[in-house]
């Protein structure tokens, strides 16, 4: 399957933070969730794709085009939502839309109007009068109104009520139905990913620690619960992280069959993305 977005060897450093050789690909017709705790580098990756910050190494290709060499063509195919929507505040939404529309040849005014109605956004209302959630909805309406082939959404569900959040995730699933489009959305709300994402990329401290289809994660990763035998130095290299508590030992494995064979008496629970994130972020690693 061709890649809608392909990132390889991406590096960017700031004082006290660095993205280290980030590589992953979002296949066409799929939704990828970029997940990680605050400060993991999710927003930096989104900004690098949109050329809002300068990469120090690596390559970003959108439908085979380099995001810097073919910047306009690439951005034409991208619909974006930033984490904190910032626009000139004292103008009505209809004016903002009329400014954005000419930049996109495929702008669909009827679709935009329909979305404003659906999201209950009055076109005459000024941007500054909107709550954070409404600003997010407006940004989504802009991003979805020009038939973008790749949607890049940075924390799109933050500030949204649960009902609209569910609707948004369903809508994203609808966007990729033609098998040609793709969605990359960053979040630290892992339940959003469980519901929608086809692929998950987990970032920790600027590094990709896991990038895989969600079904693979479901099939291969588990939380193993047991006693001190899980700390056996010979067998515990099977675990990606181990946590001790007064009630026993919990470990994270990415190889359920091998772990089952090694610890037949242990309890195996399917690992959620949140489990994986929490274990890898805070658990003592045995790699």
């Amino acid at each position: 399957m061709a890649a809608a977005l392909e990132i390889s060897g991406l590096r960017k450093s700031y004082k006290g933070f660095a993205l280290k050789d980030v590589s992953f690909a979002v296949p066409e017709g799929s939704i990828m969730g970029l997940v990680g705790p605050n400060g993991a580098g999710k927003t930096t990756i989104v900004k690098l794709i949109l050329n809002l910050v300068r990469r120090q190494a690596g390559a970003i290709k959108v439908f085979g085009l380099d995001n810097l060499a073919d910047e306009k063509a690439v951005k034409n195919r991208i619909g974006f939502v930033h984490e904190t929507p910032a626009l000139v505040e004292d103008v009505p939404l209809r004016d903002i839309a009329s400014v954005v529309a000419p930049f996109y040849p495929c702008w669909n005014p009827a679709l935009f109007q329909a979305m404003l109605r659906e999201f209950e956004l009055p076109a005459g209302k000024k941007f500054k009068a909107l709550s954070h959630g409404m600003k997010m909805k407006f940004s989504l309406a802009l991003a979805l109104s020009h038939d973008a082939d790749l949607l890049i959404l940075d924390e799109p569900t933050s500030g949204l009520d649960p009902v609209f959040r569910r609707e948004l995730l369903d809508r994203l699933a609808g966007v990729i139905q033609d098998g040609r489009k793709a969605v990359l959305f960053s979040t630290h709300v892992t339940s959003d990913l469980e519901r929608t994402a086809d692929y998950v990329t987990l970032l920790l401290d600027g590094e990709v620690v896991l990038s895989a289809p969600r079904d693979d994660i479901r099939d291969k990763w588990a939380v193993v619960k047991g006693g001190p035998e899980l700390l056996d130095p010979v067998r515990c290299p099977l675990f990606r992280a181990v946590r001790e508590s007064p009630y026993g030992v919990e470990a994270l494995t990415g190889d359920i069959p091998a772990s089952r064979a090694a610890f037949p008496s242990a309890v195996f629970d399917r690992a959620s993305i949140e489990d994986i994130m929490v274990f890898l972020h805070s658990g003592a690693s045995h790699d």
Binding site: R54, A86, D95, I96
Partner: protein, 223 residues
């Protein structure tokens, strides 16, 4: 380019209309009180140049550049549109301000002087120099760039005063008169048209240098 112009006019239309109506009145009245032909372009050019930066400052204030630069537009296009828009605004202000200066009752300089080629050319020169110096500072420091510019002007003024008291005013005058003298010599040798052409070419070159420096700084800017 047109899309970016349109964007600025729509998003800042109240500001553009408000400033367009009120500011020339202020400049016209203030300019009509000045009777020195050397002082008028120096002061008024700065007031014209401020206008686009106040407009760009609004976008800076709302942090809206991140959104604009996420649209299908390159940084070169964005900056080029800003340069052109700035020149359009500054020239409109210049035209309106000068017109009002000439018609305000009791104006100290006659209309013939205000619209004389020497005054127009020196005003354009000061606009180009101020703008050319300010734009890279604005790109690099945002609105604080205006303060940096004013501080640099102040420090330069102090240094010149120190220099003047230690070395004398002769050298400073010679330095300041370098370009006007060169223009006067061209005019004497080849006539007024080549002199005007030489000045405009110099200003264009200076503006191009400012654009190139601004673009280099803008490409390094991160959001």
């Amino acid at each position: 380019m047109i899309k970016l112009f349109r964007k600025d006019f729509i998003l800042h239309k109240k500001f553009v209309l408000g400033v367009g109506l009120v500011y020339p009145l202020y400049i016209g009245y203030m300019g009509s009180r000045i009777g020195r032909t050397t002082l008028l372009p120096v002061l008024c050019a700065f007031l014209y140049v401020i206008v686009p930066f106040v407009l760009f400052g609004r976008e800076d204030k709302f942090k809206a550049e991140t959104f604009t630069l996420s649209l299908p537009v390159t940084r070169r296009e964005y900056l080029r549109a800003r340069f052109l828009l700035s020149w359009i605004l500054m020239l409109l202000m210049f035209a309106a301000g000068s017109l009002l200066m000439a018609v305000v009752p009791g104006a100290k300089l006659p209309a013939a002087t205000v619209f004389g080629p020497r005054m127009v050319l020196s005003s354009l020169a000061f606009i180009a120099v101020y703008f050319g110096l300010l734009m890279p500072l604005f790109v690099r420091f945002g609105q604080a760039g205006l303060l940096v510019f004013l501080v640099v002007l102040q420090v330069t003024g102090v240094l010149l005063m120190v220099f003047r008291s230690s070395v004398g005013i002769g050298l400073i005058k010679t330095l300041f008169r370098l370009v006007p003298n060169a223009v006067a010599e061209i005019q004497a040798a080849f006539g007024p048209a080549p002199a005007v052409f030489a000045v405009l070419s110099l200003l264009a070159l200076f503006s191009y240098g400012s654009f190139s420096l601004s673009l280099a700084l803008f490409r390094r800017k991160e959001y």
